[in-house]
């Protein structure tokens, strides 16, 4: 890959002095879907947070290049305008801010930043209706405050709805499958798949292989103790499903 959309090189990151990411290398090209799997606590959300600009992490070494820019230098809102989107593992409830108002403010802030014209109320609502249909979201959800009183599944669906509205170039989905029943999982996957195209890259983080039956990745990487310990094609996910993560733990690997 000559010029990948996202290039992570030797990335190290720490939280409160504790090193969580211990040297990540990863290249993601436009149009590709990469799955990142790994046991709980391996650093998946930390990686997602560092990419989106969460400031509770300290990057101690390495580089991240996104569309030719130094991603780590950019403010979270500038990353968003440049096309980076994170679907949160734990979406935040924001009572007092309307869902649709928030989305329109976000979309128009991004458009302004990119020098594009803002969407007026009518065009925005039309787009929102289309996307709501795609995710089988009803009016009562989108008219409420952001995620307020939503069930776990509704929150995840709302994340993908936001993604569908904002049309990012790099979508990072952090355990979007957790807390979803099979029907909701199918709807969410269908929403994600509808957004797959040659321009868009996705980083699909999951603990379980199940999601990857519906969102079929091009590559699978296994994260363990802050490092990518194995990469492969979609078959790797099935192998993990069968054998678990134990055989890939660094200690186990070293012992072989």
């Amino acid at each position: 890959m000559a010029n990948p959309l996202l290039k992570i090189e030797d990335l190290h990151a720490a939280v409160q002095g504790k090193e969580i990411l211990r040297g990540i290398d990863l290249a993601v090209g436009a149009g590709e879907v990469h799955a990142i799997m790994g046991p709980n606590g391996s650093g998946k959300s930390t990686l997602a947070g560092v990419l989106a600009g969460r400031d509770s992490y300290e990057v101690t070494a390495g580089r991240v290049t996104y569309a030719g820019q130094d991603l780590l230098e950019m403010a979270p809102e500038d990353r968003a305008s440049a096309g980076v989107f994170l679907a949160f593992q734990y979406p935040v409830e924001i009572p007092g801010v309307g869902n649709l108002y928030f989305l329109r403010a976000a979309l128009n802030a991004q458009r302004r930043q990119r020098g594009e014209e803002e969407l007026d109320a009518a065009d925005f609502l039309q787009l929102a209706k289309k996307r709501m249909k795609l995710l089988e979201m009803d009016d009562t959800l989108t008219r409420r405050a952001v995620n307020e009183g939503f069930s776990g599944g509704e929150k995840k669906r709302n994340e993908i709805f936001q993604m569908a509205m904002l049309e990012p170039k790099l979508a990072i989905l952090d355990e979007t499958d957790s807390g979803l029943d099979i029907d909701a999982l199918k709807i969410v996957a269908q929403g994600v798949n509808a957004l797959r195209d040659a321009q868009r890259a996705m980083l699909v983080i999951t603990h379980y292989q199940r999601l990857l039956n519906y969102i079929v990745p091009d590559y699978v990487h296994v994260l363990s103790a802050g490092r990518i310990v194995k990469s492969g094609g979609k078959e790797l996910a099935l192998e993990l499903e069968e054998k678990g993560y134990g055989w890939l733990e660094p200690e186990a690997a070293a012992a072989v």
């Binding site: 968003a80 924001i94 007092g96 801010v97 109320a121 609502l125 409420r144």
Partner: protein, 463 residues
Amino acid sequence: MSAATLTAPPAPAVYTAPDAAYERAFAAIAARSGEPAALRQLRRSAFAQLQQRGFPTSKHEEYRQTNLAAVLQRSAFALPERPGAATLREAERAAQPGAAFGGPQLTFVDGHFTPELSRLKSLPAGVRAGALLAANDAGDDRLAPLGELADIGGENTMVAFNTAFFGDGAWIEIAPGAQVDAQIEIVHVATGGAGVATMAHPRHLILAGRGSRAKVVETYLSLNGAAHLTNAVTEIFVAENAELEHARLQQENTAAYHISAVHSRQAADSRLRLHALTFGGALTRNDVVTVLHGPGAEALLNGLYVAEGRQHVDNHTVLDHAEPRGASREYYRGILDGQATTAFRGRILVRPDAQHTDAVQSDKNLLLSSDCTANADPQLEIRADDVRCTHGATFGQIDEEALFYLRSRGVGAEMARHLLIFAFAAEALGRLNPSPLRTRLETELFSRWTGLTPPEGAEASGG
């Protein structure tokens, strides 16, 4: 007499007597002819109470955070004359927010009822309204319930102060069964006297008949930046199964002193929604005393205070559950910035007869600077055994996770912060029933923090 008594230090001054200027001002009122004898007698008793006790100092347990004596004695406030035509024209513009709603309106300028700025023609069916004092000329004894709830002999001597000095007020009676959709407005404008700080003592009486439903809004405004004092008292009687929503909106200038007392009594199965919305004032002290006086009564006390610079806001509430199966919801919240100071004291009294009371109280504070101070002091006094009563107070900064969430979607850091401040206030506004007032406040607060007008078609606050 024991030695101990002889050597005991003098009790700290809990009250200080009003100075001579207030005596002279009262003498002028007492000499005034034309008021009914009963009212003149009530005023005299009230002033005697005030003289006997005086203004509360910070040595008084209920005024620890707010030394009213210091404010009231620094220099005496004067009772202003009825303003002239030019001032009234200016006041008319200030009173516009109310006018825009188009419903009935009673306007008071410097405490004087001002019919030319009021709208009392073609009142909605079931509504009678007018000036408390003017009404008496009609031979209708509207003053009879005055002071029944707001006792001139009580610890809160501001009630006696008001009773002695009040210029006028609104009298609103909702007929039994009347369903009134229009919002009834009481608008106060202080015009700021030349050279001398003025005072006004509005006195309102609201009677909601059995099974009626209505909305009343009191708004307090200043015409300019001059210091002035407002000391308002409102008495509210809610009959059986009536529903009344009452909002007090304080938007006076930041040099003003604003003192208020709202006393209400609810009969069986009535529903009262009281909103205390404080934005203005150098110093504000609001007292709310509501008695759930019949079984199954429900009360909502919804407070929002926004204070910055050196503003001080003190809210004291008493929820008196006197009868069984009462439910009260008390939600106060404040946004503090600069060196603002606020206090909240919420007393919940559950009397022995008030079994199956369900009371919830919370006070939440959003602290935007490191120099502001918020105090919360819940006081539960529960004398019945089968009750549910919870309370809590929080003091926090902007939620970092919410901030990151908004920014990760492309909203700039400043805007994200402002949206979250607005959101905190919007939750309180969300407890007002949908009304022109609520819409107006949402718009005003949204602009206050974001500098933008909220977009049409997408409700900024959701819901």
